[in-house]
Symmetry: C2
Subunit: 412 residues, 2 copies
């Protein structure tokens, strides 16, 4: 059995990096030429000069949280898409509503690679329990399954008894959907006294896939793998039989940045997943801030795939909060840090002793530097319009969890 | 604006008939070679000889009602499909459950032609409110819309408020789904004070489309058309701007037969719609009895389409009933008629005066012939194992409604 979907997965990492960076200028130019919102945000950029990660890091991050307003002012895609109705195959609505395009190219969401890594092969019947209505997950997995050469049963959500009957009758090799719904289906089958021996593989997504559930599935003969995909970008990273983090998809360039900024963090540090879609002509997202937290997992996967690995979903990066009725954004914390070169890293802790909101900025100084306390306190007030205290910590003392604003208030 | 989907629609009817009949031998041979159930039922047939409607009428009718048992004995498709998992794109489950394949060819269900006739054009956004889950209607209309060059929003069923919002935000040109759900959406929009001016066309199916609803839609600026399609065959016949019956699709050969038999009725008489799929390599249904009643509408459509027209759905053909606890099938009525050449047409009327079941066979004699009453009464008992009376009617006196068994019993 072939171990890899294609030769891209096992490329020399330097060859991949050169290839990806080599595609950046054309994709940046395409976004600027065809997507009005990028024409504006990238107006000052020379696409031809975006040939390194350092140059890419200079471009503005377009954050998921901006989509709602952008789309309200320019239906349907806020000026971020390069293709319109008639050119694209489908349009979806995620909660918000945020609208997402799907182009006409086969396996447009690039889920085929994730399905292959989870063991799906040509000729398999796939029972697809992601919804096809409004949101794109159903279509994502279906178009990926078609690329692998599978036939799909569109089970959608709910109707648990009928799902059990269809699986019993049609004998699919695998399941795709949320892990919790697979558990519900298996429990319903137990209750009905129906065995589902054909099911031996699963690709799950959309929620946490705890090791306990993974092991419970394995005990029933089902090998479950997860994929990290979003409605804007499709496949970002996928689990492989090595079971060491998630390997980044070959169609995207992934950066991990300090939340609220566009600045990449050192490898291994937790930050926001920022993705540039290199293989997508219809929705050429450049430095799209997913709002998800993850971190690079150093080293290479033993499965032979040589691409960057990340740890998977580690929470939400958007830590915007309200203090004494005023919004405080991660980007404001970044602005404070930017004004003081002595600060290496900062974390704004919000608590409420005696039910009064309090802000304390914890900072790690750069090696050998002293933080000017009075000046920073003034900057806090200047940037946030709120009073805040400062606490200087030792180097490496702040936890590596991607949190820029840590809201610990309790309401008794 | 082009008035027709392609040149096939306006062919000289004789050219079409020659083309269709010319494709019969290969399709019959294909079904026999690749679909085990047809290999059995068509074993005695020489495919090369099936070159006329008369020859086709000699082949057995495979009825919808037989699918459940056939599929139970041979998953998934009862031996009627020529392609299996891996070759087909999707498999669906209709109530029963009856499983249906969808092949990989573009617009496999041939709904593009119906969408075009309803006014859908390249570049249109289509709001699709057929379900994509389990049953094939969602996929049917979506793949048809893609063939026309439209973009599709997969709305599915339910979530009426969100449907209104998506239509208001995305401004689709047209709706596809059941007519009643379109009414519900429009009423919800009224209730919310939202106008949906972009909606100007609709293709509806799945239930009756009464003229009152058609007019109510037109009053809102929405031109609604209907299509007659099934989960086994896809597009069978579709409405056109001429609004005179439904024009038969170019991919199927339609016969109208006496319910319970394989015998075509004279043009204009109501009978069961029997379809041979000429353009389908994956599911080559030969003389598939839909169980639906319709009739040929004589003449040609003023819209320029030259194919056969039918009246649309006129009820269910399967009139099997129980008399004194015994099943009586339309095929038994046909068996009685077959034994007496003097009978042109028959209708078994079941009533229950004094709450006692009674059967009366009404017959029309062939011109100039006398019906042998005693012999026919004996045949009734022989075939049905039940006592029945005979009533000889004048030629043309029996109603033209496709009813072979008319169950008029009332239970007070």
């Amino acid at each position: 059995m072939t171990a890899h979907y294609d030769a891209l997965e096992t490329r020399d990492p330097e060859v991949r990096e050169r290839d990806m960076l080599g595609r950046l200028p054309a994709q940046v130019a395409h976004a600027r030429a065809r997507a009005p919102a990028f024409a504006k945000t990238l107006a000052a950029i020379d696409p031809a000069a975006v040939t390194s990660r350092a140059a890419l890091a200079q471009l503005p991050v377009m954050r998921k949280g901006e989509l709602l307003e952008l789309q309200k002012s320019a239906r349907p895609f806020g000026g971020l898409a390069a293709s319109g109705f008639g050119e694209i195959a489908r349009v979806f609505a995620s909660p918000g509503p945020i609208y997402e395009p799907e182009g006409r190219a086969p396996d447009w969401w690039r889920l085929g690679r994730a399905l292959f890594a989870a063991g799906f092969r040509r000729g398999d019947l796939v029972h697809n329990c992601f919804s096809y209505h409004f949101t794109p997950a159903g279509s994502m997995l279906e178009t990926g399954a078609h690329a692998v050469g599978c036939t799909v049963f569109p089970g959608g959500t709910g109707q648990t008894e009928q799902q059990v009957q269809a699986i019993a009758d049609l004998a699919p090799a695998g399941y795709v959907g949320t892990p919790s719904f697979l558990r519900i289906i298996l429990e319903k089958a137990d209750e009905l006294g129906v065995t589902l021996p054909s099911l031996v593989k699963a690709l799950v997504s959309g929620e946490a896939f705890p090791p306990s559930l993974r092991d419970a599935l394995a005990a029933r003969g089902i090998q479950g793998y997860q994929v990290y995909a979003t409605a804007d970008l499709g496949n970002i990273a996928y689990e492989t039989p090595a079971r060491e983090g998630l390997v980044v998809d070959e169609g995207v360039l992934v950066e991990i940045v300090r939340p609220g900024t566009g600045t990449p963090v050192p490898d291994g540090e937790v930050g926001e997943v920022v993705v540039t879609a290199l293989a997508n002509a219809d929705y050429p997202l450049i430095r799209f801030g997913t709002g998800d937290l993850s971190a690079v997992l150093p080293g290479r996967s033993p499965c032979g795939r040589t691409n960057l690995r990340i740890r998977g979903w580690m929470g939400r990066a958007d830590q915007t909060t309200k203090v004494k009725g005023m919004f405080v954004h991660p980007s404001q914390v970044a602005a404070i840090v930017a004004r003081h070169a002595e600060i290496a890293k900062a974390r704004l802790v919000v608590d409420n002793p005696d039910q009064n909101d309090r802000m304390i900025l914890h900072v790690e100084p750069r090696p050998g530097q002293a933080v000017p306390v009075e000046a920073v306190v003034a900057t806090i007030r200047d940037v946030t319009k709120l009073r805040g205290e400062l606490q200087v910590r030792a180097l490496g003392e702040l936890p590596n969890d991607g949190k820029v604003i840590d809201d610990t208030r309790t309401y008794a």
